[in-house]
Symmetry: C2
Subunit: 169 residues, 2 copies
């Protein structure tokens, strides 16, 4: 239990479903995800910023549902809290490395649409396959009803986090 590498070590034992437990678990998970993203970045000769941008572009691009439109430099600027120059530099790197394409919008020619390149999509899928397997391994230990609970929780959590966007700034 108290053994060093044990992943479940050091949860507050007094209240195993309390706020503290959630804080610790969520913070750790976030850290692990960021570490994996960092590794991917280094392997691809990118920066963490670039990977975050890539993910945002991927989500917008493959979720036409979400915002309707593909990602643009302006949206990326807000989403990642970058300055205009940083966005341009980041997109330059991503485009030069073949991960994305810039496409002028036909309707509003000031706007640039960002598309994930298919080859890069395959690279990312390959790299993150172990992560997908891990997620599946965890999922496999729960019943359909339990998974439904988890999905509902994650969705509720995301909803709360989105509300926080305006609230405390």
């Amino acid at each position: 239990m108290s053994g060093s590498g044990a992943p479940t070590a050091s949860l507050p034992a007094d209240d195993p479903t309390g706020l503290q437990t959630f804080a610790v678990l969520l913070r750790r998970m976030n850290g692990e995800f960021n570490r994996i993203a960092q590794e991917f970045a280094q392997e691809q000769g990118l920066h963490l910023t670039d990977v975050q941008a890539l993910i945002a572009i991927l989500d917008a691009d493959s979720d036409p549902d979400a915002g309707g439109e593909p990602m643009t430099p302006g949206r990326l600027r807000k989403q990642l809290n970058l300055t205009s120059g940083a966005v341009t530099a980041c997109l330059d790197r991503l485009e030069r490395a073949g991960h994305i394409r810039r496409v002028r919008d036909a309707g509003d020619r000031r706007v640039v649409h960002l598309h994930y390149a298919d080859t890069a999509r395959a690279v990312a899928r390959d790299y993150f396959r172990p992560l997908a397997r891990s997620t599946d391994a965890a999922r496999g230990r729960f019943s359909p009803d339990e998974l439904d609970v988890v999905v509902r929780f994650l969705a509720e959590m995301n909803a709360e986090l989105v509300l926080l966007r305006r609230g405390s700034a």
Copy 2:
């Protein structure tokens, strides 16, 4: 509108507890957490790296259980994938800003222990209070049994992610 509008938009409707759903929800949550961390960083005149370091130091410092010892520059280097120079610079910034203290280990005088300063702890607690409230709001919508399921899932997920540290590198 980044991930804007309805937070539950664009989940794969065909398999509401499938891998894709988890991937989308976890990725989004990660993005939101990182955005919040970025905002905290900017407000404190820090960088995202500094905040990640701060969190790692906090976790090690307040969880003597986990690794036994407080954080050190060396462990930080591995955990955040930084070079030695970057760690030193990052710690210089954090120490100069009063967030941490460097303390030479009495036993092994090569080692530096990193401690979270109490005043900084209070600053962080204040800043992240809304996040805590959000987490509590989400928790409040589930029964104790359901919360137990969620905690178990998060713990399983973390365990898998830790395994991934050696496995696929």
